[in-house]
């Protein structure tokens, strides 16, 4: 039982030579294919360098371009040469100069000797793969692809469009079902010979010549016709990223590769000295390859490149905010109007739920961070001008920096309203509003209604605009809006709902409601405002007199008389 190797080489000849010597030293005959694009001088020097190895020969040279037929022609000719010259060969391994044996080749030979009838070639039908480049899957078998995707992209794309327009559908040769898979295989002599000697080979070759990326489907499809036993996996560890480009292994992957138990890995960065020094290295001989960890790491990389970290804005991730599903990293809570009724709202919220409770982050004087800090996490300054220079990113930064905690902040009509629309549209925001809360603040200022009338009108107008934003059709935040009268009707229920919402499963029943301000005389104050010609409709309906009983407000049109 012997293993033979077909090796495709087009670059990094010193490393290729090193690999060929590995295989040859282990008693594997090697047929090398040097790409036609390689200059004659380089080729000759390479051949001369390997002249001392009797069982290394060179195959006829073809021009191998990514996605084109040349690579198949090269491996066909080299395989033929290998099988003809070495009748004792039982398995043929297709490798490249950038493929590094991780385990001793003797272990690979023993593994194959124990499985003499098995072809190792990844081979799956088009419906089952998602890694095709350029959005072509089934069509790669039903259209023609005479143009190079790399060099002639416009012609390539144009010809695909034209064929789609003309509804061209190539006939797939009878008897075969297109399969795809990694181009690095290890086939038995029996299967490989049958593919090369197939009486219909000319017809197959003609067909596959104009299929797209034949090296991912030629052997993968035809092996199915002849195999006695096919294991649909490659013995070569090769990972591809979202553009269909192979991932490259570096020195820092050494442990990962060693633990994988894979026989061969690619692509190895030619200058990864530590890898070339360390491998092949011994392991338990009966180890089965398992690539779980490596798969996860590369899947994460693809994820990071395509989806990224939500709510992060930085020099290489700047999504159109409108398209982002949630502008910010994690959920947060906005409370409006509550602090007018509950003086120590932040303290109470923190005690109840353990979340970070800020004051009015968008107050006009400064950002009131939790604990009154002048600088908060990540180096955010409480300076209002700095904040208002880019208020949206002030908020995205705040949430990103504190993404390990739930944060909540107070908002109100007296604050800068620059993030109004963001609070309406951000799916991560949970916005609780008691409308008319500002009326309590004005009431508690002790000033008569005649003095605060215009301020009341202004705050009401600002708040009603915020409510309109929250109620707009494209608002996506979780919104809970109630009038002051409604809130005062059942404050404990509302506060319980808020703490449940913030603390999630950790929420507990409210031990006791927070201290609330004394509203004795508030109804009279509201009536006074009305008597002054200003209707505080957002506060809801309060029964006349001092009793704080609320009535359910009817929807109504906003009107404000006299704003001076």
């Amino acid at each position: 039982m012997t293993l033979g190797v077909v090796m495709l080489v087009h670059t990094a000849f010193d490393r290729a030579e090193q690999m060929i010597r590995h295989w040859a030293d282990a008693g594997c005959p090697v047929v090398v294919h040097v790409d036609r694009n390689v200059g004659q001088a380089t080729h000759d020097a390479f051949v001369a360098a390997l002249a001392d190895l009797a069982d290394v020969s060179f195959g006829r040279r073809y021009r191998g371009e990514w996605g084109m037929w040349g690579l198949i022609a090269a491996s066909q000719a080299a395989s033929r040469q290998l099988l003809d010259r070495y009748p004792q060969i039982q398995h043929v391994y297709l490798a490249s100069g950038a493929c590094l044996p991780l385990r001793p080749i003797a272990e690979l030979k023993a593994y194959l000797a124990a499985r003499p009838d098995t072809d190792f070639i990844e081979s799956v039908t088009t419906g089952d793969v998602k890694w095709t480049v350029g959005g072509l899957d089934r069509e790669r078998f039903t259209l023609r692809f005479p143009f190079s995707w790399k060099r002639q992209r416009q012609l390539f794309d144009g010809y695909v469009r034209l064929q789609r327009l003309l509804r061209v559908r190539r006939q797939i040769p009878a008897g075969i079902t297109p399969h795809l898979g990694s181009q690095w295989w290890c086939l038995t002599r029996q299967t490989l010979t049958a593919i090369l000697n197939d009486p219909r080979r000319a017809a197959f070759d003609t067909y596959f010549r104009q299929v797209w990326i034949p090296d991912e489907c030629y052997y993968q499809t035809l092996a199915r016709l002849h195999t006695r036993r096919l294991e649909s996996r490659s013995l070569t560890l090769a990972k591809f990223d979202f553009q269909g480009k192979p991932h490259i292994f570096y020195d820092d992957h050494a442990e990962l590769l060693a633990r994988s138990g894979c026989f061969v890995a690619r692509k190895i960065w030619p200058q990864a000295k530590a890898l070339y020094h360390r491998f092949p290295s011994g392991s338990q001989a009966d180890l089965e390859p398992h690539t779980g960890t490596i798969d996860r790491i590369f899947a994460q990389a693809v994820d990071r490149r395509t989806s990224g970290r939500r709510g992060l804005y930085m020099q290489s991730r700047f999504p159109f905010m409108e398209r982002e599903n949630g502008f910010t990293a994690v959920p947060y809570t906005v409370l409006q109007g509550f602090d007018a009724i509950i003086p120590d709202l932040a303290g109470w919220v923190t005690a109840q739920t353990g979340v970070v409770a800020h004051g009015h982050l968008f107050a006009t004087d400064k950002a009131h961070f939790a604990g009154g800090a002048a600088i908060y996490r990540g180096g955010l300054s409480d300076n209002a001008r700095l904040r208002d220079y880019n208020p949206k990113m002030f908020l995205t930064n705040l949430v990103w920096n504190g993404r390990d905690r739930h944060q909540c902040f107070q908002f109100g009509p007296a604050d800068s309203q620059a993030i109004k629309w963001m609070l309406a549209r951000d799916a991560q925001a949970s916005v609780w509003v008691v409308t008319g809360g500002w009326a309590v603040s004005l009431f508690r200022s002790g000033k008569p209604a005649s003095v605060v009338r215009s301020e009341a009108a202004r705050l009401q107008q600002v708040e009603s605009r915020f409510i309109s934003a929250l109620q707009s059709p494209d608002a996506r935040s979780r919104r809970h809006i109630m009038t002051l009268a409604e809130f005062l009707g059942s404050p404990v229920d509302v506060l319980q709902a808020i703490t449940d919402d913030m603390a999630g499963h950790r929420a507990t029943a409210l031990a006791q409601p927070p201290a609330m301000v004394d509203l004795d005389g508030f109804a009279a104050f509201l009536q006074d405002l009305k008597n002054q010609g200003m209707h505080p409709y957002l506060a809801g309906d309060f029964a006349h007199g001092n009793k704080m009983k609320s009535l359910r407000p009817q929807p109504r049109k906003a009107y404000v008389i006299g704003k001076k």
Partner: protein, 316 residues
């Protein structure tokens, strides 16, 4: 480029440049103290050849560089401001020597950090970018500062500046898109919060595109903040993904600062006639203490990655 006339070769070793070499371009003035560590840092990263322009230094930096086997050195006495902060000189040299090379353009106080830089040389990054058909690589200029007044911890020639200036602001950067040149305009960090709180628009730009597969048709527009053709400025993803990116650790705030700031304000040749330097002068004397409770202490690139200041993207 008429700026060619400004340049006189002091030591021209460009004949040694091989086709695959990664090149570094830098212009400097009176940086003798910083140069040894700078050269060592980038040599360790795998820079093959340094192309340096000395803007009329009167310290020993020129002699030091001329002795380095991998440095080519030019000098000029022309004005730094008139040559767009030295970019004109470098553009000339890049056009002449960097065509088809990966070129890193940095200041003497900027230290390039990219994903896996502790285990993979810069050539690995260049090869990977080539394979990914990426032509330019973005980085955030991250201002580093010591704990306590800058002058309290003197910098010794050859020292790692980040032994003392090892703190940074992790999450106060704001950005917007420049619709004309398509680059991101990033501001923030300690300078914005200390010096520009009342005029944030004037805070220095922190977006950089330092690493480029150079073609002679390319040019930096304003320092290394943006480039032409403008497609090179698209170092960021706009659909939610993260492109691979790095950080330029900015060792601006080490103790040479106080004397430098005073000097530069007089020279008034830096950006907008030294506006930035004048701010330092007036706001803090010239000895600021940037440190705050939330300052982050620098560990390595993985930390910066985790904080969201740079990204591995799909390089794994």
């Amino acid at each position: 480029m008429l700026k060619a006339r400004d340049l006189t070769a002091v030591q021209d070793r460009t004949g040694k440049i091989r086709p695959d070499d990664v090149l570094l371009f830098c212009t400097f003035r009176n940086e003798d103290q910083r140069l040894p560590y700078f050269v060592q840092y980038y040599r360790d990263l795998g820079i093959d050849h340094f192309l340096m322009v000395d803007n009329d230094s009167d310290d020993g930096g020129r002699d030091f560089l001329a002795d380095q086997p991998d440095v080519s050195l030019w000098q000029t006495k022309a004005g730094y401001g008139a040559a767009r902060h030295g970019i004109d000189w470098l553009t000339y040299l890049q056009g002449k020597y960097a065509h088809d090379h990966w070129a890193l353009t940095v200041d003497v106080d900027e230290f390039f950090v990219y994903p896996f830089c502790d285990s993979r040389p810069i050539r690995a990054l260049a090869d990977w970018l080539d394979a990914s058909e990426v032509r330019s690589f973005g980085a955030l200029l991250l201002d580093m500062y010591p704990k306590g007044p800058v002058s309290a911890q003197p910098y010794q020639r050859g020292d790692d500046p980040f032994k003392t200036a090892c703190w940074f602001d992790a999450g106060n950067y704001v950005m917007s898109r420049n619709t004309m040149l398509r680059n991101l305009w990033i501001q923030g960090g300690p300078r914005a919060r200390m010096f520009f709180a009342d005029k944030p628009r004037q805070a220095p730009a922190l977006n950089k595109i330092p690493f480029v597969k150079w073609q002679h048709t390319y040019a930096y527009v304003s320092s290394t903040h943006m480039m032409l053709p403008r497609g090179l400025n698209l170092v960021y993803d706009q659909h939610g993904g993260e492109k691979t990116s790095g950080v330029l650790l900015h060792a601006k705030f080490i103790d040479t600062f106080s004397t430098r700031a005073a000097e530069e304000a007089v020279r008034a040749e830096h950006y907008a006639s030294g506006r930035e330097y004048k701010s330092y002068e007036t706001r803090q004397g010239a000895d600021p203490d940037f440190w705050c409770e939330w300052s982050e202490r620098y560990i390595n690139w993985r930390q910066l990655e985790g904080l969201g200041l740079m990204s591995k993207g799909n390089w794994a």
